[in-house]
């Protein structure tokens, strides 16, 4: 009973926050509301029994998205454009009916699926059955690696594409200053880094290893590692560089390449493509994917193709 009340409060605040995000008075308030919405969403995932998703939401929402939006907002405030166009608002009278219709459609779809089909999803049953004789205890990692290999591979490719596109549209000259925090060399920031950076690395390796039997896995681990990188970029320990480095390039494509090579090797042996030869391959691919996801997200955040270490006192 109390659980339902809890759900209702979570849902009500999600909706209220969403309304604030799209209609709040200032853009900055929109950002704050969006961040708080991420927090509430993590609670919703917890209530829906999906700790893997709560974990991804925590790492991405707290570590990457918030900083990304703050930095984009800063660039909007800092950059003085050439001309100052008049403000426009496109307030269509059709907006409300369209929105209500779209929401209604989604609701009908969902309610239809929940009420009319009490049978558990066939795909899920198949996965759980097939995973009986695999060494993977976490069904989500299992699905990602064993059944949706091609899909996960393409996801890495999408990340890579987004990164290349972001690099292509970002101007070089105003990169460096506008993404660091104001005084990155206060003693407290140094102390923070000394504790948080090793801890994030430790936690992401733990999540990667735990991913085979508990909630966790390459995505969550990569997101945590990416948050660590965002921290380093924000405090200007690491900053954008236009000179490409082979190691970084290798890291970006590591997931893609190792996944494809192992998948192709399976094809050469006459097995279906993307069939994995064993647990070692799972760990290998997960590690490579973690590195690629983390590196790509950090570079997306910095908007550059390469990074360099900063020397400082």
């Amino acid at each position: 009973m109390l659980g339902i009340v809890l759900d209702l409060v979570i849902i009500a605040s999600l909706i209220a926050l969403a309304i604030q995000v799209v209609s709040g008075a200032s853009l900055f308030r929109g950002i704050i509301h969006f961040i708080v919405m991420g927090l509430t969403l993590a609670l919703a995932w917890a209530r829906l029994g999906a700790p893997d998703l709560a974990m991804a939401e925590a790492a991405i929402g707290a570590g990457v998205t918030g900083a990304l939006m703050m930095v984009a907002y800063r660039r909007l405030v800092e950059i003085t454009p050439d001309h100052n166009p008049s403000r426009t608002g496109s307030r269509s009278r059709l907006a409300l009916p369209i929105a209500v219709g779209a929401g209604g459609l989604v609701g009908l779809l969902g309610l239809g699926a929940t009420l009319s089909d009490p049978e558990p999803g066939l795909a899920g049953l198949a996965v759980l059955e097939a995973l009986q004789d695999e060494a993977l205890g976490n069904p989500i990692t299992g699905v990602l690696l064993l059944y949706r290999g091609l899909d996960t591979l393409l996801e890495i490719a999408v990340l890579l594409t987004a990164f290349l596109a972001a690099v292509a549209v970002t101007r070089r000259e105003d990169l460096d200053y506008s993404i660091t925090t104001r005084d990155p060399h206060t003693p407290l920031v140094g102390a923070l880094l000394a504790i948080i950076v090793p801890l994030t690395v430790l936690v992401s390796v733990h999540l990667l290893k735990a991913g085979s039997h508990d909630p966790g896995g390459a995505f969550q681990a990569g997101a945590v590692l990416a948050a660590c990188g965002v921290l380093l970029v924000l405090t200007s320990r690491v900053s954008a560089s236009s000179q490409s480095r082979p190691l970084i390039g290798l890291g970006i494509v590591a997931g893609l390449i190792s996944f494809s090579l192992i998948g192709l090797a399976a094809m050469l042996r006459g097995e279906p493509p993307m069939a994995l030869p064993g647990m070692w391959a799972v760990y290998f691919i997960e590690t490579a994917m973690m590195l690629s996801i983390a590196l790509t997200l950090v570079l997306l955040f910095a908007g550059t193709e390469s990074l360099r270490r900063n020397q400082h006192g």
Binding site: S26, R29, T181, R182, T186
Partner: protein
């Protein structure tokens, strides 16, 4: 209800009391510098008490150490955030109101 459950409940209730105090402070204090106290002090004491209560409830040293780590990290985050935000608020002065929507 066992004695340890009673103790845990007491700690949890005390913790949520401090959270409430933090919210009241956030709403009632006059300026950003005062409100920082609500963020750093009341809420972290609340987190400490809730962690302690849950540790007593779980009666497992591994869970208790994770909870302790979470509390320490909470203190660290609050310290750094309070420092940075106070700096920002002082440098910006009183007219750091939201700029109109940059468009």
């Amino acid at each position: 209800m066992t004695a340890s459950e009673g103790l845990a409940l007491l700690l949890l209730l005390a913790g949520s009391g401090f959270y409430f105090a933090g919210t009241v402070g956030l709403l009632r204090f006059p300026d950003a510098f005062c409100r920082l106290h609500a963020l750093t002090k009341a809420d972290n004491l609340g987190l400490c008490l809730i962690c302690a209560g849950l540790a007593v409830l779980s009666a497992d040293w591994r869970i208790a150490s994770v909870l302790f780590l979470i509390w320490l990290l909470g203190l660290l985050a609050a310290t750094v955030s309070a420092h940075l935000i106070a700096r920002q608020a002082r440098q910006a002065g009183a007219d750091n109101i939201d700029p109109p929507e940059a468009s």
